[in-house]
Symmetry: C2
Subunit: 199 residues, 2 copies
DNA sequence: CTCACATGTTTCCATTGGAAACATCAACGA
DNA sequence: TCGTTGATGTTTCCAATGGAAACATGTGAG
C-alpha cells in the first residue's frame, strides 16, 4: 500500500521551508492583516503540517520575530537608500523621515508587527541586530543634521517620535479627518511635508 | 433537588454585570496586558458564564470598544484638567502634550487598546463620541497656542504625532536606550521635556 | 554502511470566540 | 391578581488555534 514515488507526490522534505514560511507569513500579513497571520494558516499555505514551523522557529513568537527582523532590515535599507540620494545633511535628515513613513504606508502589516513588542522576542539575534541597525540609520541621520549641538538623545527622540507617531496615526486611520478625504498615500505625504515645513 | 435560595446562593441576575465586566476587563488589561484580556477570563473574574457579555456588548470587539470608549473619556478628562491648570496658551499646549504621555504611561494597556483599531469598532456611538471629544481637546490646545497662522491641520498633526509617537515608542520600550537606564517614568518625562525644549 | 540528527507528520489537548437553545426573573397590562 | 413578554444569564455545542509528544523520513559524516 506504500505510495510509489510518482512525479506528483510531494517530497517528504520541502527543501526550503524556512524561506517559504517567511514568504507566506508576509503575504498573509499583507493581505489579511496582523490577525490573519496564523501559524496554521501559514503552514497550510505552504502545504506543510501546522507543527512544521516549530523546527525552524520555535514558536509563533519565533516566526513573528524572524519576520519582523526581515522587516527591520528592509526598513533600514529603505531609509538608507533614501538618505543616500541627498547630499545636504538636512535634506538627508528629511529624506530619512519621509522614508520612515513611506515604508510604513507601503508595508502596513509588517510595520505594525515590527512595533508590536508583546508578540515579538527581542532577544532573538536576528531581530536584535536588525533593530539595532535601523536605529543606527536613524541616529546617524539626526546626528549629521544637527552636529554636536544640544542634547542628542532629545533630538533623536524627537525626530523618531514625530515620524513614528505620524506613521502610526496614519495607519490607524486617525489622521483621516485631517486628510482632505481624497484618500490615499499622496495626501498623507503632503501632510507630512506640511509638518516638516513648520518652523 | 432544587437548590433552596440560601443566603450564599448567588442571585441568577448579577444586577450590574455591564459595569462589573468593564471593571474586570480593565483590571485584566492593566495586569496581564492586552493579550490577557480574554472574553472568558473576564467573565470568569466576575463569576458569570462566558456568553454573558454578549447581552451587554455583542462581541469581544464590542467589549473592547466600550472599554476603549471609557479610556478615551478619561484621556480627554486628563488632558483637559492638565490644560486647565495653565493660563498662558503655550503653557496649556505643552501641558496637554505632557498629559498625553502621562496618561499613556499610567495606563499602558488601556492606551494601547485605544489605538489598536483593528480590534475596535469605531462605529460604536460611545467610542465614536469619546474619540471625537479627545480629538477636540487636542485640537483646541493647538489652535489656542498657534492662533490663526499657518496650516492648522499640519500643526495638529505635528503635535499629535510627536506626543503619540513618543508615547508609543516609550510603551514599547524602544526609547530605553535613550533613557539613561535609571528606568521609570521620571526619566521618560525628563526626555519629553528635553524634546519640548528644542527650538 | 549505518546511525545520529535535522526536518516533517500525526495525534492529542486546553483555550478561545461564537451560535443556539434553554432558564430565570422583573415589569407591565388585562 | 395573574400571565406573558423581553431582558439577562446559563448550558451545550462547534470550529479554530497554539502547543506538546510521539513517530516517520531522509541525509550526511564517520
Amino acid at each position: 500500500m506504500a505510495t510509489p514515488p510518482t512525479s506528483q507526490s510531494k517530497p517528504y522534505h520541502h527543501g526550503a521551508l524556512r524561506q517559504a514560511l517567511l514568504g507566506a507569513a508576509e503575504a498573509r500579513l499583507a493581505q489579511s492583516g496582523p490577525d490573519g497571520l496564523t501559524l496554521r494558516a501559514v503552514a497550510r499555505d505552504v502545504g506543510a503540517s501546522h507543527t512544521a514551523p516549530r523546527n525552524h522557529f520555535d514558536d509563533l513568537t519565533g516566526l513573528l520575530s524572524e519576520l519582523a527582523a526581515v522587516g527591520f532590515e528592509r526598513f533600514a535599507d529603505h531609509m538608507q537608500a533614501a538618505a543616500a540620494e541627498q547630499v545636504a545633511p538636512m535634506a538627508r535628515f528629511n529624506a530619512t523621515g519621509r522614508a520612515y513613513v513611506e515604508f510604513a504606508v507601503a508595508n502596513p502589516g509588517l510595520f505594525q508587527l515590527m512595533f508590536r513588542s508583546e508578540r515579538l522576542d527581542a532577544g532573538r539575534p536576528a531581530l536584535r541586530d536588525a533593530m539595532a541597525r535601523a536605529y543606527r540609520v536613524l541616529q546617524e541621520a539626526v546626528a549629521a543634521a544637527h552636529p554636536g549641538r544640544g542634547d542628542m538623545s532629545a533630538r533623536v527622540a524627537r525626530a523618531w517620535s514625530l515620524a513614528h507617531g505620524f506613521a502610526m496615526l496614519l495607519l490607524d486611520g486617525r489622521l483621516d479627518p485631517l486628510l482632505a478625504d481624497q484618500s490615499g498615500a499622496p495626501e498623507a505625504m503632503r501632510l507630512l511635508e506640511a509638518i516638516l515645513a513648520i518652523d
